[in-house]
Amino acid sequence: MFRRLITSLGTLWLAVTLTFVLLRLVPGDAIAAQFEGSSNPQAAQLKRVALGLDQPPLVQYASYWVGLVRGDLGVSLATGLPVTEMLAQRWPGTLALTGGGMLFAIVFGLGAGMARAWTHGIIARLAAFYSTLALSIPAYWTATLALLLLGRWFAHPAYSFLPSAIIGVHSGGVIAQIFGGALRDVASADYIRVARAKGLSDSAILWRHALRPALVPVIMVIALQAGYLMSGAILTEMIFQRYGVGLLLRDSVLAQDYPVVQGIVVILAGVYVLLTFAAEIAVWWLDPRVRS
C-alpha cells in the first residue's frame, strides 16, 4: 500500500515534469498573442513579469511545485482565472459525458461480445456487424451525421444522453472486439470442456466459468478507454457543444497556456493512477490464478 502511494506520486511527478518540458519546447507563449497589434510591447512584458514568466525555467518549475503542494494550480495565462476554477467548471460536464459514454460502451461492448461468442444466427451476425462497423467509422463522423441528419432530437434536454450514446457505440466496438475474442478463446479451454463433460448446462458454463477469465484482458482495455475519453473526446465535445475538459485542453495546448495544460495533466495523472489501480483490483478479483 505504501509502495503504491510512492509510485503514484512518482507518476504524478513524472507527468508534470514531462508536460512542463514539452510545453516549453514550443516557442512563444499565450501572452504575446494578447497584445499583438497594439504597439505596446511593454504591456506584454509587464504581464509576463506579473505571472512569473520572466523567471528562468527551473525557478518556474520549482514555484509550480510549491503551489501544487498547497493545492494551487496557478492562474491561466489567457483568462487570468484560477486554473482550479476553470477545471471545476468543466469537469462535471466531462464526467457526465465520459461516464455516460463508458456506461453505454460497457453495455454495448459486453453485450455484443457475448452475443457474438455465445449465440448463432442472426443475433451473432448483427453483433459482429456492429463491432466491425463501430470500428470502421470515426466517432466524430457519426456525431456529425447524427447532428446534421437528426439534429432536432439533440436539442431536447431529455435526449442529452445521445452524445454519450454515440461515444458509447464506438468505445463499445473496441470492447466488443476484445471481449468477444476472449470469450471464444476461453470456450476452447480445458476446464470448459471438463465442465461440459460434467454435464453442466450451457448457461451455467458460460456465466460461471467463462465470463470471469474472459473479462480479465478486457478490464484494462475498459480502464484505458475511460481515461482516454476524459481528454480525448475533444471532437465529440466540439460537435455537441459540450464544453468539457477535452476542448479546454485543446484550446490551452494551442494557446500555449501552460498552467491550464499542466493542471489538466495533474488531474489526468491522478485519474489514470486510479483507473489502472481499479483495473488491477478487478483482475485480481476475477482471476484466481492471479491471486497466487
Binding site: G10, L135, I234, V283, D287
Partner: protein
Amino acid sequence: MRRILLLFLIFAAAILIAPLFAPFDPMRTDTNNALHSPDLTHVLGTDHLGRDVLSRVLYGGQRTLFVTVSATTGTLLAGILTGMILGAWPLAQRILTPILTACLALPPLLLALVLLTVSGRGIAPLIMALTLPQIPVVARAMQSAIRPLSAADYVMAANSVGATRSHVLWWHIWPNLVPFVQRYTGVLFSQMLFQAGALSLLELGGEPGVPDWGVMLADGRGAFLYAPWTVLAPGLLMVACVVGVNWVVNRDD
C-alpha cells in the same frame, strides 16, 4: 495465414501501384469546376477546390495506408515488447509502470503540437505523433493480458524445471497471447486510420493539400450535404480496410 498474405498483398499494391492509375494530378485545382458531381471525366466528381476525387483517393490511399500500417506496426512492436518486459520482470514492472502511467496522462495533442513545431511537416513526425501516445496504452493492455497467463500451471511447471524467463515468454506466454494481440491489432489499425484526419480537424494536421483519406473525410464534413461523393469514396474505402483487417485477425469467424 492465407488471409494475412492476401491482405498484405492488397495493401502493398495500394501503396505501390494505385497512384499509377490516377487520371489527374491530385493537387491540380480548378476553380471553375468545384464540387462537381461524378461524370465521365471525373468518375468520382471533384472536391471543394475542383480537384479530381478519384486521383486524390488513389494517391491518398498510398499515403494513408503507409502511415497507418507503419504506425500500427511500430506501436505494436514497441507496445508488445514493453508489455512483455513488464509481465516477466517484476523489477522492470516497478520502474516502468509509473513511467507508463505518467505517459498515459500526457495529452497526445501536446505531443502532436511539439512534433509539428519542432520537426515540421512530413510523414515521419506524423507517424511519431500517432505512435508515441499509443505505446503506453498497448503496453499496459498487454501487461494486463499477460498477467493471468504467467500465473498458469504450465508456466509454473516450466519455471520449476529451471527454464529462463525469455524461454518461458517465447514458448509459453507468447503463443497464448497471440489471439489477444490479433484482436487488438484490428482495434489499433482502425484507431490509427482515423487519427490523422482527427488531427487535421484539430488544426494539427500535416501538409496541407496532400491527399489523405482521413483528411478528405474530415474536410468533407462541411460540404457533405451538398456533395456527398467527396466523402463517400474515401469513407467507404476506409470501411473496407477496417473490415478487411478485422476479417483477417478474427480468424475463427
